[in-house]
């Protein structure tokens, strides 16, 4: 097993999810907590990449699951992932709006502190130290640039490229049409591309790999 799993690779279907949802609807907290255990990493990652700070991400994650439990009665289908991501997306957007000033601070001054979790970037023994350092620096730069994107573009890009959702699922999570999703992703990527072009020592390497 690779010691470093990207966020996109964490995609496992949960068996008898439908049953867990039914039992949760009946007030079975233990069943609901099984769903929490299955999705909390993904939800936390979404919040972490959206909000930048571990504390804000933890708050938004807690809020997401509380809100989900209270509204599980209105969940009609077994599309738990989209439903949870929708709640999480709203929680993140609400958090950004509520703390606009704090978000602006991180927008103005992206620093290595914006991604203190880089220590969790587990070392790959097959990787040279130089590559590891470069990759770590790229991660920091990407996270900083993500925080500079407008929230709707940031969310669309994160759901697509980090969480691996299709455009339809993203539209369900964010509201709006597939066309809107397409546009937001495109604009978000274009901005990120512009920023990364200014860091050819980081970006150039990845572009070469794509050839």
């Amino acid at each position: 097993m690779s010691p470093r799993r990207s966020a996109r690779e964490r995609m496992s279907a949960l068996p008898d999810e439908r049953e867990l949802v039914e039992r949760s609807r009946g007030g079975d907290l233990e069943a609901f907590n099984c769903l929490v255990a299955a999705y909390q990493d993904r939800v936390y990652n979404l919040c972490r990449r959206m909000l930048g700070s571990p504390e804000a991400a933890a708050d938004a994650t807690q809020e997401t699951f509380l809100s989900a439990y209270r509204s599980v009665g209105s969940l009609r289908s077994a599309a738990v992932k989209s439903w949870l991501f929708r709640i999480a997306s709203n929680a993140c957007i609400d958090e950004i709006r509520r703390h606009r000033r704090q978000a602006a601070v991180s927008l103005d001054a992206p620093s290595p502190d914006a991604d203190p979790d880089r220590t969790l970037d587990l070392p790959d023994p097959t990787e040279s130290p130089e590559r590891a350092a470069l990759r770590s620096e790229l991660s920091e730069a990407l996270q900083a640039e993500l925080l500079r994107l407008p929230p709707d573009q940031r969310l669309a890009v994160i759901l697509c490229d980090l969480q691996g959702l299709g455009y339809g699922e993203i539209a369900a999570s964010m509201g709006g049409s597939v066309g809107t999703v397409k546009s937001r992703i495109s604009r978000g990527r274009a901005r990120l591309r512009e920023r990364l072009r200014a860091r050819p020592e980081l970006f150039g390497d990845i572009v070469r790999q794509e050839r």
Binding site: S6, A7, V36, Q40, Y69, L142, L162, A190, R197
Partner: protein, 248 residues
């Protein structure tokens, strides 16, 4: 930039969707045909793929702790507090509206009786239906917003209606107010809606002699006015607070 866009049949957005394999078969064929002959778009495509790939390779951060809900997180008290607040709103609205009306009537009667001595007697001998209808209408509203607006309109309407409504007498009001204020102070708990709606009907049937006979002593009158004003303000303040909490 516009020139570039005009000359090129494939937009950035289409390239982006192409990277995600989200184009229709027809659009995909068109883009691929174009890419065959356009180096600039191929470069652009590579950069977009690189951005997507870099994002996808960002390390997944494991949740720092378990976010499993505890019983305490989802206790009925929490939803019941919200429910209790919701139940308290009609009660609060009724009490506030009643206090506003009572205040207006007291002031109105007070002004009239200070103008002409016997007017206070006439004010209390009108029909009882009007007095019943108004608090019910006030208690019917669920949204705090509409209730405060209703309160405002009642404020405006009261001076003209003041002479026609049998008011809660000073003797009755302080006692009902004493029952109401604890209810206002602990809004999350459901309180039986007994005191507010029954205060007025009781007041109508009460002998009004003590009001008419107070020509020489203003203190109970002032006290009643102050009390109803306080109840009205407290009620309006509580409703505003509930409305603000719901918005937050």
């Amino acid at each position: 930039m516009w020139f570039w866009r005009r000359r090129h049949p494939v937009s950035d957005e289409e390239l982006s969707a192409y990277v995600d394999d989200q184009l229709s078969p027809a659009d995909r064929a068109r883009v691929e045909a174009h890419l065959d002959g356009c180096a600039a778009c191929r470069d652009s495509l590579e950069e977009l793929r690189a951005v997507k790939s870099a994002l996808g390779s960002l390390p997944g951060v494991p949740a720092p702790r378990s976010f499993a809900l505890r019983e305490a997180d989802v206790q009925p008290q929490q939803p019941a507090a919200a429910g209790g607040l919701a139940r308290a709103v009609p009660l609060l609205s009724g009490v506030t509206a009643a206090a506003v009306i009572a205040f207006g009537v007291l002031v109105g009667v007070d002004l009239r009786s200070s103008g002409s001595g016997g007017a206070a007697d006439e004010a209390f001998q009108t029909s009882s239906e009007d007095g019943d209808a108004v608090p019910d209408a006030a208690a019917g509203g669920d949204a705090a917003e509409s209730d405060t607006r209703q309160n405002d309109s009642m404020f405006n309407a009261v001076p003209s209606e003041g002479a026609e409504h049998p008011a809660a007498t000073p003797g009755n009001l302080p006692s009902s107010q004493a029952q109401d204020e604890p209810a206002l102070g602990v809004a999350p708990q459901a309180t039986p809606p007994g005191p507010a709606p029954t205060a007025l009907p009781r007041a109508e049937r009460a002998p009004t002699a003590d009001v008419a006979g107070d020509g020489g002593d203003d203190t109970p009158w002032r006290a009643a006015e102050a009390a109803t004003a306080a109840v009205a303000l407290a009620g309006a303040g509580s409703l505003a607070f509930v409305w603000w909490r719901r918005r937050a």
